[in-house]
């Protein structure tokens, strides 16, 4: 039996699929690659027929990413599972490394790593995330922000029998939700090294993640209805819960403003405005804090610049 199942979901985007599959095979000695074709209407089926040693599963009626990932899990056999998007890359040998980490720590639920960010500019990726890779009990941190690159996670199949499958009703944050449910019951491990290359979405790439406003609305609802009601969160003190909720709100506000400024840089005024408005409506406090923080920083920067100028002039 293979040690890791890599589940690659694909919908009408066969261009980069072969590369993703090859990277998955190179990432471990004993890897099972399951390609889930989510009712593509293009050449995806043909492309997959040419690929060697994959398990090809074709869904006839489109299920969205989370639903397709669940079908992939159903068709996989390994003890450890990881997801890979069809436009991302796994780095060589990283799956073996993560699998052996899980083997040596039987109580850990999953192990995640860093992702190099491919911004689509054609230049080699220089940026990566997350900067810090916390280990152990990461629930509180994870509740306020999804710092885990989805494709970097290798998780234990047995976790699913305690926390359930991916929630297909929250496409786009389904992975975050699963990590939270797992982290509420299991300690987590991390490698502070890149294990994958993540292709960042741009407004033109048509990826789900480019709809920041929708994601934040969905996350906020999920936070209020589900995450804040997790048994381990409920038993926390009022103060601790309030702190988590404030931090969540601040991060969401910040995220929307960053996305708004990105939209602005792409010349998408409407999107920028809608992001900002949602930020203010859902997370007034977090948004105001972010804006004040940014303004103070830029004033400090200006002040620093003035001082440098002055000192430069003085030395002249």
């Amino acid at each position: 039996m293979p040690s890791v199942s890599v589940i690659i979901t694909s919908h009408d985007r066969p261009a980069l699929l072969a590369r993703a599959v090859a990277s998955a095979h190179a990432a471990g000695r004993d890897v099972e690659v399951v390609v889930v074709d989510d009712a593509s209407e293009d050449k995806t089926a043909e492309v997959c027929r040419d690929l060697e040693s994959i398990k090809y599963v074709r869904i006839e009626r489109n299920q969205n990413v989370a639903g397709a990932r669940n079908v992939g899990i159903l068709n996989s056999t390994a003890e450890f599972i990881t997801f890979l998007d069809d436009d991302d890359l796994r780095l060589p040998d990283t799956l073996d490394r993560q699998a052996s980490m899980l083997q040596s720590k039987p109580d850990a639920g999953f192990v995640f790593g860093q992702a190099l960010i491919d911004d689509g500019s054609g230049n080699p990726p220089t940026d990566y995330y997350p900067r810090h890779c916390p280990q152990g009990d990461v629930l509180a941190q994870l509740l306020t922000q999804n710092f885990i690159p989805c494709g970097s996670v290798v998780f234990r199949r047995s976790c699913l029998f305690r926390v359930g499958l991916l929630d297909a009703s929250i496409p786009g944050i389904d992975d975050w939700d699963l990590w939270i449910r797992i982290a509420s019951l299991y300690p987590v491990q991390a490698v502070a090294q890149p294990v994958m290359i993540w292709r960042k979405s741009s407004p033109t790439s048509g990826q789900g993640t480019s709809h920041a406003d929708r994601m934040v609305v969905l996350s906020t609802r999920q936070f209020q209805n589900k995450w804040s009601k997790i048994a381990r969160v409920r038993v926390e003190s009022d103060e601790a819960r309030q702190q988590i909720s404030r931090q969540f709100s601040r991060n969401m506000g910040c995220h929307l403003l960053v996305e708004a400024s990105r939209s602005l840089s792409y010349g998408r005024l409407g999107e920028a405005l809608s992001n900002s408005l949602i930020a203010v409506r859902l997370h007034p406090r977090g948004t105001v804090q972010t804006i004040i923080g940014a303004a103070t920083r830029s004033r400090q920067k200006r002040a620093a610049a003035t001082i440098t100028n002055v000192s430069v002039r003085e030395t002249k």
Partner: protein, 312 residues
């Protein structure tokens, strides 16, 4: 490898569960019984751990019936899947019967049988509910809710889930209908006349999830518009599609009003009003016609008659 897995999702009902499990173990010669405990906080786990020969899965995060069934499907090692609710029963040998039917017809997606209705104590009544249509393409009947089938009465080929996806966890109470429609869109369905299970019929006050009928039927009415987007429906002429939609909505309204009348007879007026209001939303014209001519009409007429009798 077992031939068929029977998945029993359960939540806070250990007293019924034991009987259900016993019936599942007896229902076939090569059965894998999977009990998915959906985060119960009572003695469900100790009850399950005391029963030999079952696979017991305990969820720590409540997933709802559909989510728990999905976890059961993931745990299954068999080629065929059956479901059983914790307060229903499977009849002895019924799984063998259905598995044999699927083995004989390799193209069929699932096979369904008839169900014996039981009262609140689980005692069988003489009422037997079964599909009235022959085996084959029953997609349209299922879509129009004209095909009595429940998770209790089916055995599904597991590969269907890879073609149409798993159960939709957003559709509490109607996730089964949604699944059957999606499978029947692509696969022929087998129909057996034999009863395969005993269904504990919900009543207005039983506290079973199915007694939230108004809610579920309203959800079905809303979800219908999604199902009308399925390719086979889209291939219809717009006129036929509209006709199909109104037939289905009228059927939902009829069901709601029928339950409303039953409830009125038993004095549960709140339930009845609830149903009439829902029905009014779903199919206003149908509801008004019904209420005026079949219910309100006769009542008013009788009263008038009574009044005129007094005059004389």
């Amino acid at each position: 490898m077992p031939k068929v897995s029977i998945i029993i999702p359960t939540h806070h009902r250990p007293h019924f569960l034991q009987r259900a499990i016993a019936s599942a173990l007896n229902a076939g010669s090569d059965v894998e019984v999977i009990v998915v405990d959906d985060a119960s906080r009572d003695d469900t786990s100790s009850v399950c751990r005391s029963i030999a020969g079952i696979k017991y899965i305990r969820l720590d995060h409540n997933q709802g019936t559909a989510g728990a069934r999905n976890v059961g499907i993931l745990a299954s090692t068999a080629q065929f899947i059956a479901f059983l609710d914790d307060d229903d029963l499977r009849l002895p040998g019924s799984l063998d019967l259905q598995v044999a039917a699927l083995d004989r017809n390799s193209a069929a997606g699932f096979v369904c049988g008839a169900m014996i209705m039981a009262d609140q104590d689980g005692a069988p009544t003489a009422e037997v509910l079964g599909p009235t249509w022959a085996s084959g393409d029953v997609f349209w009947q299922l879509l129009e809710l004209d095909f009595p089938v429940l998770p209790l009465s089916v055995v599904i080929r597991k590969e269907c889930f890879s073609k149409v996806g798993l159960l939709n966890t957003e559709l509490q109470g109607i996730d089964d209908w949604d699944l059957f429609v999606r499978i029947a869109e692509l696969y022929p369905v087998l129909v057996l006349a034999e009863p395969v299970g005993i269904y504990r019929k919900p009543t207005a006050s039983s506290g079973q999830l199915s007694s939230a009928q108004a809610q579920h039927l309203s959800r079905a009415a809303r979800h219908l518009s999604c199902l009308l987007e399925l390719p086979r429906v889209r291939s219809l002429a717009p006129k036929d599609r509209d006709a199909l939609q109104s037939r289905a909505l009228n059927r939902i309204a009829d069901t709601l009003l029928w339950h409303a009348r039953e409830a009125t007879n038993k004095g549960s007026y709140k339930f009845a009003v609830n149903n009439v209001v829902s029905s009014l939303w779903i199919a206003p014209k149908r509801t008004l016609t019904h209420v005026t001519y079949r219910n309100l009409g006769p009542i008013l007429f009788n009263q008038k008659l009574g009044a005129s009798n007094l005059d004389h």
